[in-house]
Symmetry: C2
């Protein structure tokens, strides 16, 4: 999803946000600047700021105000990614950790803390306590989601409901409040921000389900890493859970996942992926993602017809087609 | 510094804060509850809430309002300690990390993030953007301080100014804003909160210098770990920097620190500590701590005479005597 293709409408404003993003993490301390800037420059789709700006279009669109939620939301997302990296780094390193590796991990953790802090400083400048409350609550839920993911590693007995609750916290909530806070910062009517929250939540759920499908069935070129890395890490996703519900698949799939678990991150997921493909798990996950997209579109339908609404619809359609 | 001895005045209110502290981290998720509660129950002096309440006594003392800064400040302090532990854990573990160890580290990092989030949620309930701004800025500075500490590990060329800037960020700032925010939440006059900030800042600086002296010269029983653990970790503190300024000590001390560095956390600091003791480094550090305490007392002198002021003076005196 290249930014310029889909977000031509917002190009100039997003360039401004990009600059503000860099400006926001500016520190007098060179080391901090280096690590935090490096991170942000690694890029990303800037999906959350895009949602903020599109949400803002439903009220008094004022970029100077909107940046105070657009930038913090991207920062919070980035900080959560750095903290994920700290963890991943630690896991793949074998044998005695090098000083260099240690250093990086320490720095990465505090870089995450620093970026969270910067996000909150920038949001506080808006002097709107409701925005602060919503942002802080999202941070709480995200950290619970991360812990739940760890708790549920290699747990094949977890329910589909567990999975959905987890991705709600990990992904959907931040996208939901991106849409919502854009509208709130632009002083749009309460009903509009509520509908945008619903749109964002459902799009976020679909987005994560598609992401989990891609991790299993995408090509290495498409996803930038060998397929099945979620499973090797212990992250049991929706297609796996659906496949485990099928009696003729379950036992063999459990054995494969057990072997992968034993191999401690180095196992081969090819056979497990083939089993899931053979099962109805993949199609059922796709269908659930589509249902979330449909709910997102239903929420959109109740909003006034604007250019921004059309873009939000395009984004929803784009997400459904991501893995095809 | 047992809480009950010195803070008899506040005993009942501190018991209330203690309960609120536990209540604040309550999560529907059992795993989160377990780790976060475990942490808080490990205790501590609750110095930051004490400063908040004492600061609040200079305005309209309202415990229901004050808890919204007292609890977040203790939570931010606790979260920063968890993140320190993540790091320490990683450093002392040799060879291939066990799954169990990994688990703990991941959980510890996200427990820290969770507690930061809870702190901000509780502070946001006060609906005072200034308080949010001050808290967020402190979080930013604290993370920079932690990164500076890592950057300066085993750097014997760092200046005393470097050290002072670092402990300002790491320790003094949070104590300063504890005193300040107590006054702000109680709507005390601006000049009062400014003086309390100054008191807290100077007490915080003295506190950290004394802590660093204790780490070198305290008994194992007194500090709960073998002396010199800062140095083994690479943390070059004020007495060391002062000792390095003495020509007849410098070369031998540099060699000792070099050896400790080589030993990667397992070195023997006995000889280095003896050298620092022989030098004037320890006395010079004590003298600087005393100067900070004097500045704290000067700020106090300008505040109205209250019982709370007397307690703040007692705390300042207590800190100077900590290492004797």
């Amino acid at each position: 999803m290249r930014r310029l293709d889909i977000f031509g409408l917002l190009k100039r404003d997003m360039d401004f946000i990009e600059q503000e993003l860099y400006g926001s993490i500016n520190a007098e301390e060179p080391l901090v600047n280096e690590t935090a800037l490096h991170l942000l420059k690694a890029g990303g789709k800037r999906l959350r700021p895009v949602f903020v700006l599109l949400g803002g279009k439903f009220g008094n669109y004022d970029l100077e105000r909107l940046k105070h939620v657009a930038v913090p939301l991207e920062l919070i997302h980035s900080a959560s990614l750095v903290h994920d990296d700290v963890i991943d780094d630690a896991q793949t390193r074998r044998g005695k950790p090098t000083v260099k590796a240690q250093w990086d991990n320490r720095i990465a953790m505090y870089t995450g803390d620093y970026i969270y802090g910067r996000a909150l400083v920038m949001a506080a400048e808006l002097r709107n306590p409701e925005i602060h409350r919503i942002l802080s609550k999202a941070m709480v839920q995200m950290s619970i989601g991360e812990m739940e993911q760890i708790r549920d590693f290699f747990n094949c007995e977890q329910t589909v409901r567990n999975y959905l609750l987890r991705i709600r916290r990990k992904t959907a909530l931040l996208i939901a409040i991106s849409c919502q806070l854009g509208a709130i910062a632009a002083e749009a009517p309460r009903e509009v921000s509520r509908l945008l929250y619903s749109y964002g939540y459902n799009v976020g759920m679909a987005f994560q389900i598609q992401d989990d499908l891609l991790d299993l069935f995408g090509s290495e070129k498409q996803i930038g890493k060998p397929p099945g890395s979620d499973m090797r890490q212990g992250n049991i996703t929706l297609p796996v859970l659906f496949a485990l519900q099928e009696e003729d698949i379950r036992d063999e799939l459990l054995r494969e996942i057990g072997d992968i678990h034993q191999a401690d991150g180095q196992g081969d997921a090819t056979r497990a992926i083939a089993l899931i493909k053979k099962s109805g798990g993949s199609a059922k996950a796709e269908a659930l993602a589509d249902r979330y997209i449909q709910k997102a579109l239903d929420a959109l339908d109740q909003l006034p017809n604007t250019k921004s609404k059309k873009t939000l619809r395009d984004i929803a359609h784009f997400i459904t087609k991501r893995s095809h």
